[in-house]
Structure formats: structure tokens, C-alpha cells
Amino acid sequence: MTKLLLHHDRLVRWLHPVAWWTWAVGAASAASITGNPLVMLGISTAALLVIMKRGASAPWAASVVPLVQLAGIVVFARILMQALIGAPMGTHILLHLPQAPLPGWLTGVRLGGPLTLESLLLGSLEGLRFAAVLLCIAAASTVAAPSRLFRSLPSRADDVGTLLIVAGTLVPHLVQDFRRVSAARRLRGRHTRGVRAAAASLTPVVDAALERSMQLAASMFSRGYGLDVRATHHRPDPWRAAETAVAASGPVSAALVLAGIALGNASTLSIAPLQWPTLPLSSALAILAACLPAFLTPETPTTDRPEPV
């Protein structure tokens, strides 16, 4: 199938950003609809695969470890919330946490108390769902930066793309300016720590940022910004078989999950009675569909030299 799709598409090229974001929204929906932790894990894997195999130029693509760690933190935070303040449920008590007395009108809310296996599982399920959605968005941003998405849209949305790129350079500039100004304060023998020192450094930093925006505005204006003509696009991303395949795979994945639920053979994590889920065919196909873009797409070009100079 790979051969068939890529027969006319052996280029190393960027895929159309709309295709990637359609895939991401579809896959994230599949993860949100399902009640099966195995499907959530599968969708997360699909997102990580896309980042690893097609996110060549992003600095974080080289190692997915931090992303997995982030997802882990999300899951853990959700478990913690469920364990501490969630509604009491289930009968399998693992341990007793000290419970804080709350006023009577706060019915259904508790702080601490018995920690059950059921609440722990429910917490991980919700955490996993959120992590899967997060990874899908991260994957789409890696292979199709939001600025590229906006640039591929017609006319005015184009300026939003420019805005995002400019904003993206603003923060590093601000950090740099702040360091420079603090270093200069130290050279004058002033304090560089504390709120007052930070406040004093802020004025020149804001001044510099304003100055830069003025220069940017002048430059954009000089280069034809705001002209009353219909802006065009240089090398617009083409829409080919690979784009159709990628854009379809996300919604197909979500549709398969929905179909499973409608047909009544979707396996979910059940807590009363406690039952481990299985992976029925429709769910397995949903995961497979979400994973396909990592393999069916042309490779991504690189924008960085191996070593910065």
C-alpha cells in the first residue's frame, strides 16, 4: 500500500498543513470518544510515531523522551486529583488518606479519605485521554507549524501566520534583552536580584521591544504590507494522494471508534465490576488508521544545518 500511494511522490517535501491538522483533530477525537485505555495508548503511540518519523527538523523530534515525560506528568496529575478530591467510588480500598473536614453543604466533595483502586483507574483513564489529545496537537505542530497552517489559508488568515512567526521571535528577544540589561546593571554596581531590580530592568527591555516592533512595522510596510491586491503564495503546498490519505486517516479512526460504540462491541474500562478491557477489531483498526500517516507520507525536509555557526 505504501508503494502504491507513494509511487508518484518520492519527494522529500512538506505535507500540506491542513492534512496534518485534519489528521490530528480526527485522532484526538477518537481518543476523546473512546472509553478504552488501549485505544488511548494506541493513539498516543501514533502521535509519537509521527513526531519521530516525520518531525525531522523540530529540535525536540530527536528525542521523544521529554514528550513522553510530559504526558506522564499529565496522567499523574489527573490521578492525584482524582485520588484527593474526586467523588468517593468503588469498594477496593487501597489505603486510607487523612480526610479534611469540609462544611456540610459541600456534598459530594471530599478532601483525602479512602483511596480506592476504582478511583485510581478512573483517574488514569482521564489522564491518558488528555495526554493522547495533547500528543496529537504536539505532533501536528511539529510536522506543520501553526504559522504554516495559517499561511496555507487564503488572504487575510495569511497575516495571522506572519503574526505567529513574529511573536515566536519576540520571546527569545525579550529574554536576551533582559539578560543584557541585567548584566549592564551589575556593571554599574546595582543589585540584579529582587523585584525592584527586575522592575528597573523592565523599562529598557520594553523600550527595546517597542523599538523593534516599530522597525518591523516600517520594514513590512516598505515591503508591500497592506497593499490593496490579492496576496499570492509562493510554492503553495500541493494536495496529492498522501494528503488525502493523511487527512482521511484521522476522521476514519474516530468513525471506527464511534461505529464500535454504536454496534455495542466497544470494550471500555469497567470499574463496577472491575474488568480489564479487550481490543475488539474496530478499535484495533482505529489505532491502525491513526498510525498510517507516520508511514504513508513523504519524508520531511530539514531546515537546520547539522551544526549552527
Partner: protein
């Protein structure tokens, strides 16, 4: 016709006097016009009038008119000039709107609504003309200074403008990057027939390319003449011109090649004379000392086990390409960053451990943007605070400033000073507490020849009373005037540290004009040569 100024006078809002007065001139098609003038006289204003960013974005009072190919700035907004006038700002980084080189090149054409096929063709042409083939797919943040400047030029060139306007395009560049940029401009003038209007302080870099010189005077009056006519009696001029003026050569040579032809007799006469030696005594405890210092930013090594010492009374000039590690070295000496390995000592102390008023007492630092040092809202207040910070007698800083820049007004806001005046104020603050170590990062950026001569005198006086001075600069002529020793670094490693005569005259890249004219003899400055000639 390229561009025509018709009796143009311009006054900024709230300004007492006009910046430009009755400017009446024309620059022809395919001409290379160089705008010169002292710091702060309105060179940038003149350039920005060409596409109407002044007055459309600044406000102010305009008399007369500027016309480019029949379009007047009075009834066309700057964006209407996008296809006629390409403006390259002083700091290209602030003008970029994309993250990848090729997208940046497309921006102007996309705004102009050109077809995809046209854009594709023009980008290919421009990439070839500007030598960007290997960079086109690259992320902009990974480019070096010279590459950024060439991308900035290319990104306005794609619109096929009739005029290219550049504001000091080489002021932040090392000599070889500057040569790349200027050679590219030269190619455009010759092969494409584009008109170039460029401002530049370091005339020695640009004069050889110029067809016409536009001289902006202090009173806002402007002359346009041939380079030879302007240079024959210019008060401040690059070394070969000064040499020609003082030795009475006629006509004045504009290139090193012409000067060599005029200097045959001079070379013969100097054959048995020696340039004066610039001696410094070696110290047992040099005030500036780096011992195998290593600084890394992530996976990039900025300083690689670098060792360097500067003695008392020594002025050492630090040279090297953009990104070679010069600023990092100065930051390590100032204690603004701590090396991962090795040792840095300033007057025997660890600079990173100094705090409070100890810092200015031991280390005087003038950063690349001297304005960073200025914290007050009045010149007088700034001086008082410097006295207080350094525990000095009241008035010390102010009287020093009066020596450096007598014209500065007590009530002026530091932000409203010219670049040269700001530098003087920063220097006064730094020098007032008489630190034994002076560090300066690119101090001549934006300074005219008179300003540079004053800075040289100040630094020599400080070294005369025992300070160790380290100056990082790309300005080879300034280095030739100033340095006892020159240290060259590349990729964070020390390549050579030796006497100015040895290092500067033997390097094709760092050789000052005088030494190129008198090679193979080892002369560095006009003064040395003229004195030896009369001796």
C-alpha cells in the same frame, strides 16, 4: 532616472531645526551613491525619505518632493514603493517575517500579488545573484551576520526594485563578510543596472565602489559630487586619502591600488627606516588573565580552553569573525558569565564573584550597546549617580564628560543623545572610578573618524596611567591606530597574540590600508609614515 530630490527640507515633529535643508540632487540609474556625514547628521533620514517611511511613519514637516520613476512620496505610501525601492534596514534581524530563508524571499512578492510562476523564477535568479543557494532551505535563526545581511538584500531584490537603499549594511560585519556583501552590491550595479544608495561610516570599505558621494553637513545642507572631488579636501577621510592629503599627492587615490602607484617614492625613502615600536612591559601579575577558559552554549563551544593575558598599560585588540567568541570572552572577563572550565582573573580576582560597587571599581565595561549602562533620565543625574556608586568626589564624572564631549547638555535625556555622545557618557561613567581593567565591545560602531580619534585618545590616556585595555572590534583601521598587541580568535580558540605590527601587517584580511600601500614594509598608521617621511 533613479531618484530625484527636489528642494527637500525636512523637520521632525518637535524638533527646533530642520534635519535636512533644501536638498536638491538626483542619482542616476545604475549609479552607486554613497551617503557620508558625521554621526547624527541625518543620513538615515535622507535614506528613509526615498520610499517615504519618513515622513509617512514618523510625521514631521516636509517641503519639496522626492520622486522615484515618476512616483512622488507625497501621494504614494511606503508600501506603494515596494516594487520600486528596496530598503534594507540597519539591523536585518528586526525586519524578518519568516522562519525559513526561501519564505522570507517570497514575502514581498506575495504582498505584490505576483503569480507563483513569476515568484519561482525570481527567487531562483536572486538566489544565484546573492549566492544563497546553500542557504535557501535553512532556518533564519541559524544564519551568521553576513548571511543575514545578504538574505535581507535578496528579500527586497526579488521585487525588482529600481533602487536599493541600505543603511550602514556592514557596520556589524567582520571584514570578510563585509567584502561579501559589498561585492554582491557591486555585481548588482554592474550586471543588473540597479541604483544603490548606501550610507557608511567606514569609507575605507566602500569608497572604491562609489560613483558619487552625497555629503550631509551639520547644518542639514547636502552636496553631491564625485568621490575624488569630495575626498580631496575632506576633513575626515580614510587613511589612504589622509596620507595623500598630507603628502600632497594629486590626484587623490581612491583605492589601495592607486595609492600603491603613487607611493613608489615613499616606499623607497622608508626602506631604511623603522616604524616606532609599541612596547609594553610584561607583568608578573597581568590584570587581565584567562587560563584555559572554556564556555559552552549547549553543544556549541564558544571558548575552547583559551588562555590570554593583558599587561598593565597594554591595549590589546581582539579580532575575529562574527561569532568567533569575542563577546563571550569579554562577558567572561566582566563576570557576566562563568566559564564551565578554566580560570578567569581580573586584577587577581574572580570577576563573577564581585558584587555591588566592587564591580565598577575593578572592571570598566562598555557593552556593544553603551545605552544599556545608562539608567537615569538626565545626563546630570546619570553623572551624579556614577559619583555616588563609585564613592567619588561629587562632579568627577561630569568634569570627565566635559573633557570627552563638551557639547553635551546637562538636561538632555540619554536616549536623545547621538550614538557617539551616548558612548562618551558611558565612557565617562566607566572611567570615573578609574578601573584597572577596561573592556570594550565594538565601540566604533556608528562613530565617524573624529569620534574614533577621540576614543583612541581616551583609551591611550587610560592605558598611560596603567589600565589594561581589551577592545573587541572589526575595525582594522581603529585597531592599527590603537593596539599594542592584537589577539585573533577563531571558533573560540586563540589563533595568534602578538604585536600589532606583526599580526596586522601579515594578515590579508586584517591589514590596514597603510600597510597594504607600503607592503612589504610593516607600517600601520598615517602618522607613523608622515613622521618618518619628514625625518
Amino acid at each position: 532616472m533613479g531618484v530625484r530630490f527636489e528642494h527637500v527640507s525636512f523637520t521632525y515633529p518637535d524638533a527646533a531645526a530642520p534635519t535636512l535643508q533644501d536638498v536638491h540632487l538626483a542619482v542616476g540609474e545604475g549609479e552607486f551613491a554613497l551617503v557620508v556625514g558625521e554621526t547624527g547628521v541625518g543620513k538615515s533620514t535622507l535614506l528613509r525619505l526615498i520610499n517615504g517611511t519618513v515622513p509617512h511613519l514618523t510625521g514631521g514637516l516636509l517641503a519639496g518632493d522626492v520622486v522615484v520613476r515618476g512616483h512622488s512620496i507625497r501621494d504614494t505610501q511606503p508600501n506603494g514603493f515596494a516594487a520600486l525601492v528596496g530598503v534594507v534596514p540597519q539591523d536585518p534581524v528586526t525586519s524578518f517575517v519568516s522562519d525559513v530563508v526561501e519564505d522570507e524571499l517570497a514575502y514581498t512578492m506575495e504582498r505584490l500579488g505576483l503569480s507563483a510562476a513569476t515568484m519561482r523564477k525570481r527567487i531562483e535568479e536572486t538566489v544565484d545573484v546573492m549566492g544563497l543557494e546553500s542557504l535557501r532551505g535553512q532556518a533564519i535563526r541559524t544564519l551568521s551576520g553576513g548571511q543575514l545581511q545578504r538574505v535581507a538584500i535578496a528579500s527586497v531584490l526579488v521585487a525588482h526594485p529600481a533602487i536599493l537603499v541600505l543603511d550602514e549594511p556592514t557596520s556589524a560585519l567582520d571584514p570578510s563578510s563585509a567584502d561579501d556583501v559589498l561585492a554582491a552590491l557591486q555585481r548588482l550595479v554592474h550586471d543588473v543596472g540597479i541604483t544603490v544608495v548606501i550610507s557608511e561610516h567606514r569609507l575605507e570599505r566602500v569608497l572604491q565602489y562609489a560613483d558619487r558621494v552625497i555629503a550631509v553637513g551639520n547644518n542639514g545642507r547636502v552636496r553631491i559630487e564625485s568621490p575624488r572631488a569630495i575626498m580631496a579636501n575632506a576633513a575626515s577621510a580614510p587613511p589612504i586619502i589622509e596620507l595623500a592629503q598630507r603628502l600632497g599627492w594629486d590626484p587623490v587615490p581612491l583605492t589601495v591600488r592607486e595609492a600603491r602607484a603613487s607611493a613608489v617614492a615613499l616606499r623607497e625613502r622608508l626602506l631604511d627606516r623603522q616604524p616606532p615600536l609599541r612596547l609594553v612591559q610584561a607583568d608578573a601579575e597581568p590584570p587581565i588573565r584567562l587560563d584555559r577558559a572554556t564556555v559552552r552554549y549547549g553543544r556549541h563551544t564558544a571558548l575552547a580552553e583559551l588562555s590570554l593575558a593583558v599587561n598593565r598599560g597594554e591595549i590589546c585588540v581582539l579580532m575575529g569573525r562574527n561569532g568567533a567568541g569575542k563577546s563571550t570572552l569579554l562577558r567572561a572577563l566582566a563576570g557576566s558569565l562563568v566559564p564551565q572550565a578554566g580560570q578567569v582573573r581580573v586584577s587577581g580576582l574572580d570577576p563573577a564573584r564581585l558584587s555591588g560597587s566592587e564591580v565598577p571599581r575593578h572592571i570598566g565595561v562598555v557593552p556593544q550597546q553603551p545605552g544599556d549602562l545608562l539608567l537615569g533620565s538626565r545626563v546630570a543625574q546619570e553623572c551624579r549617580e556614577a559619583d555616588h556608586d563609585g564613592g567619588l568626589a561629587p562632579g568627577s564624572t561630569r568634569s570627565l564628560l566635559a573633557l570627552l564631549a563638551p557639547e553635551i547638555d546637562d538636561d538632555a535625556h540619554p536616549r536623545d543623545l547621538s550614538e557617539g555622545q551616548r558612548l562618551c557618557l558611558a565612557l565617562a561613567i566607566v572611567l570615573a572610578s578609574e578601573p584597572q581593567v577596561l573592556l570594550l565591545d565594538e565601540p566604533t560602531r556608528g562613530l565617524d573618524y573624529a569620534g574614533k580619534a577621540r576614543l583612541r585618545d581616551i583609551l591611550q590616556r587610560a592605558a598611560g596611567v596603567g589600565a589594561a585595555v581589551l577592545v573587541a572590534t572589526h575595525d582594522v583601521e581603529f585597531a592599527a591606530e590603537l593596539a599594542h598587541t592584537v589577539a585573533v580568535i577563531a571558533d573560540g580558540e586563540l589563533v595568534v597574540h602578538g604585536t600589532a605590527a606583526n599580526v596586522l601587517t601579515t594578515s590579508p584580511l586584517f591589514a590596514p590600508q597603510v600597510s597594504k600601500v607600503l607592503a612589504p614594509q610593516h607600517w600601520l598608521t598615517v602618522n607613523e609614515v608622515v613622521e618618518a617621511w619628514h625625518a
